[in-house]
């Protein structure tokens, strides 16, 4: 594990000591190399975990998330080059430092053995994200967005701290590898119900669950591109990952306590998909689609069957790559037209055909086209929820239809039709942008050839 953590830490002095024309090249190249190291962890024993030390371990659930996190840093740096080009050198270096710090905390979060260490780093990821959103965001609303983001997560996660301390006191250890073997079934008393709620609410807010999702559209829309990418791709998965880890300690109470959250997720899935159909702001549309996809993951984790866990893991990785790619595409539009309203920049297929190809592929991945792992995840979750309760198939089916509707709506509004007059002199696609999209899409397509990497510990 140190072979990832130390290079990531050393990225910070690398940025600060680079020459001004080399900061992007240095940081991007070195973070790409770090991500190649993390790919080695994907080679896992399927029945146990890779233990590096007392502090860090990785198992087939956290390894793909780790690979996603480290893969994303070079992509974030590539995407930020344009909007930071007018800032001073110190600001640029500070931005890269924030991203690297966030990356560091995320790597350690995904591989932590002790749940308290997980919690501390979980909270620590809030700080760089908040700084990125409020300092480099675009509009005055970003202060409000930062506030929502910060306080929703903090209020949700403070009970988690108390619950973890309680478990430490009663069970004696919060080391995940040990705790999973020492678990005693907990009974349905009021204090255990509050324990369950305390453990789960932090992750519900992070996912986000439908009733607690208000911070997400704000944070995504106001954040700069790197902020949106890391929020959509990785920070949301922290919630899913945390839920999958903590439910090990909370059996069999989950069977009863999960009902309200399952209802909220199933209903919220359809609601947020429907809201997407009425969105005028491109980034807002993608943000709400994130909520919709994550609702599926919540359903999967709360049902707790082997198929649903496989589906949840696959869906998390797939959504991370797809959502991040959609945000990059929306950002490339925004940098040209300086407006996020969809109807003002139409008919881009004739002007930017290659970018249109990336739009098409990203939207098709978003609507879970076979044989992508998006489909795999959704299909597994659908089957598991059908066997849990037959009626959920109607809701899941409706969601799939509405997802297809809004993905195609987004595609058609931005690409097809006659161009508006004022977009006729936009700059053609940069190689950097094409490389960015290709680097997002390549793992997604390659994973459809070998999906068992991302299917999690059950497979």
């Amino acid at each position: 594990m140190l072979k990832i953590i130390i290079p990531t830490t050393m990225l910070i002095p690398l940025t600060w000591l680079s020459k001004s024309n080399m900061i992007w090249i240095n940081s991007t190249t070195h973070s790409l190399l770090i991500s190649l190291i993390s790919l080695s962890y994907l080679n896992q024993f399927s029945d146990n975990s890779l233990n590096f030390s007392l502090l860090f371990f990785s198992d087939p659930l956290s390894a793909p998330l780790l690979a996603l996190t480290t893969w994303l840093l070079p992509l974030m740096l590539t995407a930020s080059q344009n909007h930071l080009s007018k800032e001073t050198i110190a600001r640029k270096k500070l931005y890269i430092t924030m991203l690297t710090l966030l990356q560091l905390f995320l790597i350690m979060t995904f591989t932590a053995t002790e749940l308290i260490m997980f919690y501390i780093l979980f909270e620590a990821t809030l700080a760089p994200t908040l700084i990125i959103i409020t300092r480099w965001g675009n509009q005055t609303e970003r202060l409000n967005a930062g506030l929502y983001f910060l306080f929703y997560t903090l209020v949700g996660s403070l009970p988690l701290l108390i619950a973890l301390l309680y478990i430490q006191n009663t069970t004696g250890s919060l080391n995940f590898l040990i705790a999973q073997y020492w678990v005693k079934p907990i009974s349905t008393t009021w204090s255990n119900i509050f324990l369950w709620l305390a453990c789960m609410m932090a992750f519900m807010v992070k996912m986000p669950l439908y009733g607690l999702h208000l911070w997400l559209p704000k944070a995504h829309v106001e954040a700069p591109i790197a902020g949106s990418m890391v929020l959509a791709a990785v920070l949301l998965k922290l919630g899913g990952y945390g839920m999958m880890r903590i439910t090990v300690l909370l059996n069999p109470l989950t069977g009863q306590m999960a009902y309200p959250f399952l209802m909220l997720s199933l209903w919220g899935m359809i609601m947020t998909s429907s809201i997407c159909l009425r969105q005028t702001d491109l980034k807002s549309l993608i943000a709400y689609s994130s909520v919709s996809h994550m609702a599926l993951v919540i359903v999967a984790v709360l049902i707790q069957t082997p198929w649903s866990y496989m589906g949840a893991t696959a869906l998390m990785i797939a959504h991370g790559l797809t959502s991040s790619m959609l945000f990059c595409l929306a950002n490339s539009n925004y940098e040209r037209v300086h407006s996020r309203t969809m109807i003002l920049a139409r008919g881009l297929q004739t002007l930017l055909p290659l970018m249109a190809a990336w739009w098409l592929l990203a939207s098709l991945a978003n609507l879970a086209l076979p044989p992508t792992i998006n489909l795999l995840g959704e299909l597994f979750v659908m089957m598991a929820s059908f066997s849990w309760s037959n009626t959920t198939i109607a809701l899941m089916g409706t969601n799939i239809i509405i997802t297809a509707l809004y993905s195609l709506y987004m595609l058609i509004t931005t690409l097809r039709g006659k161009q508006t007059d004022h977009v006729k002199n936009i700059k053609p696609s940069f190689t950097r942008e094409n490389a960015l999209m290709a680097l997002h899409l390549l793992p997604l397509l390659l994973l459809s050839l070998n999906p068992k990497i991302v299917l999690g510990p059950i497979h």
Binding site: T280, H338, L344, H422
Partner: protein, 458 residues
């Protein structure tokens, strides 16, 4: 002061709670937003009309964020409120007739278009008295042609011989008049101030943001491209507008996707800020927006024996015009000066000698009752005068692709404002004109030299 402190704390808490904007440093509510999709430079009737139609025609409701920047919130020098307020369909260019026809329909049904919940209905005091254009021998053939075009478009205009003129309007002296055209329906005059207020109220209720400031700079990015014929042009795209706050050095950069130049008489200066016209003359690069300020005087006089209540808006062949104002035998009128007599547009001072020397003689000759009149007051207003062909400029600029024009109507802008607003909104949202085809009014005609000249304008 306990109560004051408590209310301050309450205000602070309210601003922090969700729903409000929280600016912890200082109050910036007078500044425009940092981002807007469309920035409309100029808050007169044309600018507000474009804003209204943009919000009305956008497909998903609330999609576009529109900001109207107006530097004079009292409208003290705006052409809209200093206008005589007439509306006619008697033009020779068919597009002008269509524009006026839609505008009068808009004005007649103004309370269906501009209704705001819980606000009183608008009364623009439309007097449907019609226009009477008089033609001498030389102009009679042109007038007949014009009336044919107008009738084709659907305007109801009647041609009158001097005999019929004397029968209908006994106060007129038909010496030198060979033919007259009289608009039977849909012509007259109205109160421009109430139209402006109605538009302003409605547009604010639709969510358009207003800013009291002046546009001082456009930040644009250029693209040097080569056309098919090998000519090198510089395609520009405005991506930021610097709005300077009134009586302060502070400015706010507003990031925008589209800029609409509806600055009226000052549109030429705004276009120069965007770099339109900076290039070798004779090329598209070097074609300026030919809109300048021209000062026009309007005089209000009282004549007890003057023409009665059925008086239309009379336009003499010499260019002098007058109309009835109110019910107390008051009349408004004036005359367009020739090129040599153009007054200095630096200020809005009125030259009373102009009335004595130029306007009164022709008035008295046409309407003998006006030999004894008493001038009550006078004012001056600007025309956004298009020196090329005295007709409006509408649509995008060929090089600065996201600047759209809605200006240059040289004295008939107010009457065509609703229709022009709709046309520009269609151009912005759809990319082509859908209802009225104003492609002959595009900017490129200045470079190609295709004049859309009107006969008989004031």
């Amino acid at each position: 002061d306990w109560d004051g402190k408590v209310s301050e704390i309450k205000k602070k808490i309210q601003s922090i709670l969700p729903g409000g904007t929280w600016d912890p440093l200082y109050d910036t509510s007078y500044l425009p937003p940092e981002r807007a999709d469309v920035v409309i430079v100029g808050g007169g009737v044309l600018g507000l009309s474009v804003a209204y139609w943009l919000k009305k025609l956008e497909k998903p409701r609330g999609a576009i964020r529109v900001l109207v920047v107006e530097r004079d919130h009292t409208y003290s020098r705006a052409s809209t409120v200093l206008s005589v307020g007439g509306i006619r369909q008697q033009f020779s260019v068919p597009e002008n007739v269509q524009l006026s026809l839609f505008s009068i329909d808009f004005l007649r049904n103004i309370n269906e278009y501009l209704a705001v919940v819980d606000d009183p209905p608008l009364d623009i005091q439309f007097n449907p008295s019609g226009y009477l254009l008089l033609a001498s021998e030389k102009g009679a053939a042109i007038m007949e042609n014009n009336v044919k075009v107008q009738r084709q478009e659907g305007a109801k205009v009647s041609l009158m011989s001097p005999e019929q003129l004397r029968n209908k309007f006994p106060w007129i002296n038909t010496e030198g008049v060979a033919l007259a055209s009289y608009g039977m329906e849909q012509e007259g005059w109205f109160d421009p101030w109430s139209l402006l207020q109605g538009l302003r109220r409605k547009v604010q209720s639709m969510g358009v943001l207003f800013c009291h400031g002046e546009v001082t700079r456009f930040v644009s990015s250029s693209n040097h491209v080569e056309t098919a014929s090998g000519e090198k042009v510089n395609l520009k795209r405005i991506h930021e507008v610097h709005v300077k706050i009134d009586q302060s050095l502070e400015y706010q950069p507003v990031e925008c996707a589209i800029v609409i130049n509806a600055a009226g008489a000052w549109s030429g200066q705004v276009a120069e800020l965007a770099g339109i016209g900076k290039g070798p003359p004779g090329t598209l690069q070097g074609t300026k927006l030919p809109v300048e300020l021209r000062k026009r005087y309007v005089y209000l006089w009282h004549c007890p024996q003057g023409p009665g209540l059925e008086t239309p808006f009379v336009i003499d062949p010499s260019g002098t015009y007058f109309r009835r104002e109110g019910l107390g035998q008051n009349y408004l009128g004036g005359c367009s000066p020739t090129e040599e007599e153009e007054p200095d547009p630096g200020n809005l001072e009125v030259d009373h000698d102009f009335f004595q020397d130029r306007v009164w003689p022709t008035l008295a000759q046409r309407v003998p009752a006006f030999e004894s009149l008493k001038v009550r007051s006078a004012w001056a207003g600007y025309y956004d005068y298009n020196t090329f062909d005295q007709n409006g400029v509408v649509g995008p600029h060929p090089l600065v692709l996201n600047m759209y024009f809605a200006t240059g109507f040289s004295g008939h802008g107010l009457q065509q404002a609703p229709a022009v607003g709709r046309a520009v909104a269609e151009m912005v949202l759809e990319g082509h004109f859908k209802t009225i085809n104003l492609s002959s009014f595009l900017f490129s005609r200045f470079y190609l030299g295709e004049k859309v000249q009107e006969h008989n304008i004031i």
